[in-house]
Structure formats: structure tokens, C-alpha cells
């Protein structure tokens, strides 16, 4: 029994996934991907606030050259916890586990992910890992840097390395299982007619992300496990006093952690592809290239990890291989950027909140990505490695890029998720605040880095003062910019006007179901006869 869903179906239904069941238990034991997405949304936001609080304290400490706000040990724990919380507990799960979880099955025309229980298990693993890590924070924190470099982490640090390591280890499995679930879902749950070449670009990028999660994360798990074993039993694996090589740990760590940066940015690419198309009402320029670039990035991403180790004892020749390959990874990113820009050409662009984030993303990602080229250039990296230049590089991509894309995606799909509209004026205003605050925070850090200010410094020489003041000022503005959406989105959840099924006249199966969608998404599997981005067609004909 396959019917094309009628246009009337998109009208409001009295029973949706939010009000289908009530009570705490119906949330904590749910296997509905949409509810699990909401669980993730809440927890990810909480972790972002925690990580942001650490960032705020870091910036306050750096307001003056002397280390006068907190003790150096505390400062070290601040940036460590900031990095760990932001990366493992906020950014990696953000787009995939919140937006992906909610949207993927609907985009594919499925009732749920392939393994709904596994999906819930992922969330629990994530929470267990997160709570262990928060416990480590409360018990006094961990001060190894998010990179856990040995032998400091295994032999010298007297902070709560073990608990944190276990927390990250467990969260790793959450990430693996989410990725596995998405891949299987993409392969087996697509609606009839939804061929690979018709698939939305968001799907492509999440598919690529999931590949990295499945193939990379286990190596992080083993690296962390070895750190734990070495620390607990005092045996020699990486400890040079016992015959080990600390650099081997760095190999294992970066084998995961370099691809992990693409776990953080690929989903953002996917969101941006959706936003750019739907707000300029124009099919992407070069669909095949944009889709293929995602997979190419996922694969190449595994070949460049040694570029984090140019100043170690890594062999000159291995360094050259890694540097060489690092430049290749720039090409698929370049393809994406150029194609997005080309898509705008002769479009019909409207500037609602999500689109502002999308354009901001392109602008900032370009800078972040291009500064990656300095770092991949061996001769220059020798100078800027472990300075604020690197800090600026990755915040440009991760905050200016991924976080902006996440916010853009949240705003874009918010009507679908909540069934309510938010005030667009406030949305546009805070997007602007975020953009300004961001640049003020992180642009000065490039200069600081080239001047030679090392990262992870609790106190710094006076000549770096002025630029650090700019940076701290920017961070406060940025904080406000993040705070505003928090307020008006929560407000709109309760008081916002009802959202129509498709407030943006966007394309994609998720806009064919009511807002908020019913528990089973579709009354019957929809039949897809067109590629996703056919703006010229009347909505009713699309499905």
C-alpha cells in the first residue's frame, strides 16, 4: 500500500510526537528518534553552557597578563575541561545527534532509524560518559589538555585523568553507535524512489561523518584505554623510562582526532548546503561534486594526522608525506565553498535568520580553512605550532563554522521540531551579535599567534596585553549572542505562534509532514519521484 502523501496530510494533526505520550518515563524510555533528538538537544545545550562557562573564565583570566584570577593549576584545568566538554560532549554530538537524529528518518521517508533501541543506548552512553566527566570536573578537574599527551597524562599529572578518560571512552562508543545507526539507516531505510543521487546533501554529509565515526573512534578508544592502563598499573607503553615512545600515543590520538575535526565540520557543511539552497530557492550548483566532496573529505581525512606532529621526533619524511596530503584535503573543502557561492548566483535570496548564519559560516570557514594551510606548511608550522595562531584557526572553523551552522540548523528546523515560530527579528539580531563578537574574539588571536604567544599560558608577557583585551571583550559579546537564542527559542516553545508545515517553502520530505510530526512520521512510506531540490514544482506534486 504505497500512496503519495496528500498535500492535506501536511496539515496539523492533533496527535504528534510531543503529545503522544506523557510523563518522564515516556521520555527516558522512548525509542522515537524525534524524542531522542530532544534529549540530545537538552543535554548538548547543557554541556555547551558548561564549556562556555569555562571559556568565559579562560578569557577573564587572560584579561590581564598576570595570572591573577585563578591559580595556574586551575587555569590548566579550565582549558582542558573546556576543550574536552566542547569537543566530545558538545560539538561532536551537536549536529549529528540532535538535528541528524530528528531529521534523517524523515528526510529519508522512514518511520525511524534502523536501530531505535541502539539509538537510545547511544544517548545513555553519552550521558554516562558526560556525567563521569562532570564528576571529574566537580572532583577537581583534569589538567592534561584535551590531547592527553603522555607522559604528562600517564605519569605526572595528579588530576582526575582516569575518570575523564573513562568518560571519553564511553562517549566514544555512543558516537560509534550513532554513526553505525546512520549508515545502516541510509542504506536500508530510504523511501522508494529516493535514490542516492536524489538524496539531500545533508544526508550525504552525515553519511560521510558516520563513516569517520565508525572507523576512527575505535582507535581513540584504544589510545585512551592504553593511557588508562599505563596510568593505573604503571606499566610501560608510552613511558620512555620504561622503553616506550610518547610519540606513538600522539600517532594513535591524531589518527582519530584529525578525522574527528571533520566529524565536527562535515555535518555543518550539510546544514549549510540545505540552507543555501532553500533560502535562495535554487538547486545547488554541482550537486555531484558537493556530495562527493563530503565522502572525499571523510576518506582523505584519515591520511593527514601527522601534521599535528611536525615539531616532535616524527621523521622528516613522514612529516613531508603528511604535509603533502594535508593540502589535498583542502580541495574538496574548496569545492564546497565555491559551489555554495555559485549557487547564490541568480538565486532569489531571502535573509531570514538561518540564511544569515549560513552566509556567516561561509565567510568564517574560509578564513579558518585557509589558515589551516599555514599550519599544514611545515616551515611555517614550526613557528606557529602550539601558539594562539592554532587556537584561532580551530575556533574559526569550530565556532565560526560549526557552531554557526548548528545555530543556523536549529533555527531552520526549529518550527519542525517545536511546532512554533520564533521571532525572526531577534534571530537576525543575535546572528549579527554572534558574528561581531566572534570576530573580535578570534581575529586578534592570529596576530598573537604569529607574534609567538604560546597557547595554554596562564600568564603572558605584557606586549600581548592589548590584543588579549580585545579578545576578552569579543568573548563577552559572543556570550550575549549565544544567550539571546537560548532565551527566545525557549520563549517560542511555549508562547510562539504555531508553525505551518513548511514555513520556508523549502524542499525535502521533512517539510511534507506536519509540524511537529506525528510519531510514525508518515502514514505510509512516501514515494519519491523527483530529486529533492525541484523548486519549480508545486509542492503537492513533489512527493
Amino acid at each position: 500500500m504505497r500512496i503519495a502523501s496528500q498535500p492535506t496530510y501536511a496539515e496539523k494533526v492533533p496527535i504528534n510526537y510531543l503529545n503522544a505520550e506523557h510523563g518522564l518515563k515516556s521520555w527516558l524510555l522512548t525509542v522515537d528518534h524525534k524524542r531522542i533528538a530532544i534529549l540530545y538537544l537538552l543535554s548538548v545545550t547543557a554541556f555547551f553552557l558548561v564549556g562556555g562557562l569555562f571559556a568565559l573564565l579562560i578569557r577573564l583570566e587572560l584579561l590581564t597578563p598576570q595570572g591573577d584570577l585563578v591559580r595556574s593549576d586551575v587555569y590548566n584545568r579550565l582549558f582542558t575541561m573546556h576543550g574536552i566538554v566542547m569537543i566530545f560532549f558538545f560539538l561532536i554530538p551537536s549536529i549529528p545527534a540532535v538535528l541528524g537524529n530528528f531529521i534523517i528518518p524523515i528526510m529519508l521517508g522512514a518511520r525511524d532509524l534502523a536501530f531505535p533501541k541502539l539509538n537510545l543506548l547511544s544517548w545513555y552512553l553519552y550521558m554516562i560518559g558526560g556525567i563521569l566527566t562532570l564528576y571529574a570536573v566537580l572532583a577537581g578537574g583534569v589538567g592534561t589538555g584535551w590531547t592527553f599527551y603522555t607522559p604528562y597524562s600517564t605519569v605526572y599529572s595528579n588530576s582526575h585523568v582516569m575518570v575523564t578518560a573513562i568518560g571519553v571512552f564511553i562517549t566514544g562508543f555512543s558516537s560509534i553507535l550513532t554513526g553505525l545507526n546512520f549508515i545502516v539507516t541510509t542504506h536500508t531505510m530510504r523511501a522508494p524512489g529516493l535514490t542516492w543521487s536524489r538524496m539531500p546533501l545533508f544526508m550525504w554529509s552525515l553519511y560521510a561523518t558516520s563513516l569517520i565515526q565508525v572507523l576512527g573512534t575505535p582507535v581513540l578508544a584504544i589510545a585512551i584505554l592504553l593511557v588508562g592502563i599505563e596510568r593505573l598499573w604503571g606499566v610501560g607503553i608510552f613511558n620512555p623510562a620504561l622503553g616506550g615512545d610518547p610519540v606513538l600515543f600522539q600517532h594513535l590520538f591524531w589518527f582519530y582526532s584529525h578525522p574527528a575535526v571533520y566529524i565536527m565540520v562535515l555535518p555543518a557543511f550539510g546544514v549549510i548546503s540545505e540552507l543555501i539552497q532553500n533560502f535562495s530557492k535554487k538547486r545547488i550548483f554541482g550537486y555531484k561534486f558537493v556530495a562527493g566532496a563530503s565522502v572525499a573529505i571523510a576518506v582523505y581525512g584519515f591520511l593527514v594526522w601527522g601534521h599535528h606532529m611536525f615539531t616532535t621526533t616524527q621523521s622528516v619524511y613522514a612529516g613531508m608525506i603528511f604535509s603533502f596530503l594535508s593540502f589535498f584535503i583542502a580541495i574538496p573543502s574548496a569545492i564546497k565553498v565555491f559551489n555554495w557561492t555559485a549557487t547564490l548566483y541568480q538565486g532569489s535570496i531571502s535573509y531570514q535568520t538561518p540564511m544569515l548564519y549560513a552566509i556567516g559560516f561561509i565567510g568564517l570557514f574560509v578564513i579558518g580553512g585557509l589558515t589551516g594551510l599555514y599550519l599544514a606548511t611545515m616551515g611555517v608550522d614550526i613557528h606557529v605550532h602550539d601558539t594562539y595562531f592554532v587556537v584561532a584557526h580551530f575556533h574559526f572553523i569550530m565556532v565560526g563554522g560549526s557552531v554557526l551552522a548548528y545555530l543556523g540548523g536549529i533555527h531552520y528546523w526549529w518550527p519542525k521540531i517545536s511546532g512554533k515560530m520564533y521571532p525572526d527579528g531577534w534571530g537576525r539580531f543575535s546572528a549579527l551579535v554572534v558574528f561581531v563578537g566572534f570576530n573580535l574574539t578570534f581575529l586578534p588571536q592570529f596576530i598573537l599567534g604569529y607574534l609567538g604567544m604560546p597557547r595554554r599560558y596562564h600568564a603572558y608577557p605584557e606586549e600581548f596585553w592589548v590584543l588579549n583585551v580585545f579578545s576578552t571583550a569579543g568573548a563577552s559579546i559572543l556570550g550575549v549572542g549565544y544567550f539571546l537564542p537560548l532565551v527566545y527559542l525557549i520563549w517560542s516553545w511555549f508562547y510562539g505562534p504555531e508553525a505551518p508545515a513548511n514555513p520556508w517553502q523549502a524542499r525535502g520530505l521533512e517539510w511534507q509532514v506536519p509540524s511537529p510530526p506525528p510519531t510514525t512520521n508518515f502514514p505510509a512510506p512516501p514515494l519519491v519521484t523527483q530529486e529533492t531540490y525541484e523548486y519549480s514544482l508545486e509542492e503537492a506534486e513533489v512527493v
Binding site: 575505535p218 584504544i222 620504561l242 616506550g244 606513538l248
Partner: protein, 228 residues
């Protein structure tokens, strides 16, 4: 024995709500398991690459350390594990044919051999303990390359320990298969739980096939440091 798609002892269909038909469910489960095995390969891969780096750095010390392994126990265990893999394969085959009784019998045999493996493993560990060859805790080897020798024992315990952990998980999964078979759940159409667990069990066997020569056998012909 059940024939129809929707049949099982409790009258509920094995078809899960998110799937359209059993074929789709089977497909999802198989590729899910293969993906999981891919993850597992890289999990052990991290260990193997570390092993490789240190072995190529300290070839003599590793050979020397390997001489302290119990080759007999290792060989017997290899045979036991391969035997359990055979039983597993037969259990899966029986499930494919819907022969629930046979599934029960072969699953039990698989679990039995798996347990034998673990018992021998524990016995080996115990001997390492009495020989004072446990790194960190009581490592009494006092040769020239003490730390380098100890390193192989670290890998020995971590790798076989991880392997044993997987065996335990496998035993849990087999128990589940046993329960399904007791409920006569398997049929010619619905057998993939057994198949998927089988894949996992064979994978655990695979890992051991590599661990055995890499840990036990590299020192067999080694005569100690050469001093001409």
C-alpha cells in the same frame, strides 16, 4: 518449527516496527554487524600497530619475552577456539534450516568450547602470576632488557584481555540465541539473529588467529642473545 513470517511462540511478529519487511530487517542487521566488525578491526588495529612499532624496535627483547609464553596452552586454545567456531557455523546453518533443536545443541557446544578457552586462559594467567611475569604488579624478570621484555607482556595481557572480554560478550549473545532457539523462534525466514551473532563469534576467532603467532610463537626458535 515455525514457517510463517509472523509466527513465534508469543504470537508477536519478529518484524520490528521501523521495517517494512523481514528482508529489510535482515539487510539492516547484517550490514550493521559488518560495520560493527569494522569498528572492532580498528579497535584491535590500534593495538596491533603499537605492537608492530615496538616489536620492530626491540626484536630481541620481544623474542626473549615470547619464550616465556606457554606455547602448548596457546596451541590447544587455538584448536579449541577453532572448534567453537565450527560449532557456531553449524548452529547458524541449523538456524537457516529452522532446526531449533540443533541450534540449541550447537550453541551449547559453542559456549562450552568458548568456556574451555577462557578457563585455559585463566589458568595461563595464573601461571604468569606464579612465574611473576605480570607487568606492573609483580614482574620479576631481571634480564638485561627488562623493560623491553616487560613490554611484550603488557601487550600480551592487554590484547588477550581485550580478546577475552569479547569472548564474554559473545557468551552473553549466545545465551540470547539459546533462548530464541528454545522458543523455537528460528525459521527459514527468520534466522538472522543467529547469523549475526555468528559473525561476531567468528570475528573473535579471527583476532585470536593473529594473536597466537604474534604473541606465542615469535620466540620459539630464539636461543637468547647472540654473543659470539
Amino acid at each position: 518449527m515455525s514457517e510463517t513470517l509472523t509466527h513465534s511462540q508469543h504470537g508477536t511478529s519478529p518484524l520490528q516496527h521501523q521495517f517494512d519487511d523481514l528482508g529489510q530487517q535482515w539487510h539492516a542487521n547484517t550490514i550493521g554487524m559488518w560495520l560493527f566488525l569494522a569498528t572492532e578491526i580498528l579497535f584491535f588495529g590500534g593495538l596491533f600497530v603499537s605492537y608492530l612499532v615496538y616489536r620492530s624496535t626491540y626484536p630481541e627483547a620481544f623474542a626473549e619475552a615470547s619464550r616465556h609464553m606457554d606455547v602448548l596452552a596457546g596451541t590447544v586454545n587455538t584448536a579449541v577456539l577453532i572448534g567453537s567456531s565450527l560449532m557456531m557455523a553449524l548452529a547458524v546453518q541449523s538456524a537457516q534450516l529452522g532446526a531449533n533443536k540443533l541450534v540449541q545443541r550447537f550453541t551449547l557446544l559453542t559456549m562450552f568450547l568458548g568456556t574451555v578457552f577462557l578457563v585455559i586462559k585463566v589458568w595461563e594467567y595464573y601461571h604468569k602470576y606464579t612465574e611473576q611475569l605480570i607487568p606492573g604488579a609483580n614482574f620479576a624478570y631481571e634480564g638485561a632488557m627488562r623493560h623491553q621484555v616487560e613490554m611484550l607482556f603488557v601487550f600480551y595481557f592487554v590484547m588477550t584481555g581485550m580478546h577475552a572480554l569479547h569472548m564474554f560478550i559473545g557468551l552473553g549473545l549466545l545465551t540470547y540465541i539459546l533462548i530464541l532457539a528454545r522458543r523455537n523462534a528460528f525459521s527459514r525466514e527468520y534466522f538472522f539473529p543467529a547469523e549475526v551473532v555468528g559473525l561476531y563469534w567468528h570475528f573473535v576467532d579471527l583476532v585470536w588467529i593473529f594473536l597466537f603467532p604474534l604473541l606465542y610463537l615469535i620466540g620459539a626458535h630464539y636461543q637468547g642473545p647472540v654473543h659470539k
